[in-house]
Amino acid sequence: ETAVFQTPNYHVTQVGNEVSFNCKQTLGHDTMYWYKQDSKKLLKIMFSYNNKQLIVNETVPRRFSPQSSDKAHLNLRIKSVEPEDSAVYLCASSRLGGWAEQFFGPGTRLTVL
C-alpha cells in the first residue's frame, strides 16, 4: 500500500528549463528525504527535512532546492536542469528518531534532452 506519493511519474525537458517534483506522505512522519538514483541504480541522499528545517544537505549543486510547506510535503525544484540531472528522484519519509525505517515513493524519472 503506497503511503508516499510522488508526481509526476515521468518528466522530459530541455537543458536550462526549470522543473519541480512533488512528494506527499500520509504516514504522519516528521522527516522527509530526497534521493537521486542514477542510470546505474546508484542511490545517494540529496536532502532531508525535519519540521521544515533542513537537517542534511549533501553536496548537491545549488540549482537543486527542496521546498516544504508542511511536514507531509517535500517538493524538489531544479532550476536550469543539466544533462547529468537525468535520473530517478526518490522521495522517502520516516518518523523522527534514531535509525527509523524510511518509506519510499515510486520515484520521478527525469530525462533532460
Partner: protein, 114 residues
C-alpha cells in the same frame, strides 16, 4: 567516512535454490544496517535491519541476514527463492553520527529463473 560495497552486480539463481547476496561495509563503529528491495518501477521496501543483539536477523518474506563484525559483512540469505524475488537488492548503512542518513551500496540485481 563510511561506505557499503555489494560486490555482485548481478546474481542469477534457479527457483527453489538458496540465495546469498553479499554486503561489506566500512565504518569505524558498529553501524545500523539495512537491506532494501526495489521491484521494477517501484520505490524501495525494507526487508530487515540490524543494530545489535543476535547477529542473525529475520526479515519479511523469509529473508534473513547475518551480521559479522570481524568480517564487516551483512549478507542477505534466503533458503528457497521464488520467481517473484527477482528485483534489485540494496544494502545500506546509517552511521551513529547521523542516523537520518542512509548510505547505499550499488545494488545487486537478482534474477530467479524458472
Amino acid at each position: 567516512a563510511q561506505s557499503v560495497t555489494q560486490p555482485d552486480a548481478r546474481v542469477t539463481v534457479s527457483e527453489g535454490a538458496s540465495l546469498q547476496l553479499r554486503c561489506k561495509y566500512s565504518y569505524s563503529a558498529t553501524p545500523y544496517l539495512f537491506w532494501y528491495v526495489q521491484y521494477p518501477r517501484q520505490g524501495l521496501q525494507l526487508l530487515l535491519k540490524y543494530y545489535s543483539g543476535d547477529p542473525v536477523v529475520q526479515g519479511v518474506n523469509s529473508f534473513e541476514a547475518e551480521f559479522s563484525k570481524s568480517n564487516s559483512s551483512f549478507h542477505l540469505q534466503k533458503a528457497s527463492v521464488h520467481w517473484s524475488d527477482s528485483a534489485v537488492y540494496f544494502c545500506a548503512l546509517s552511521p551513529m553520527s547521523n542516523y537520518n542518513v542512509l548510505y547505499f551500496g550499488s545494488g545487486t540485481k537478482l534474477t530467479v529463473e524458472p
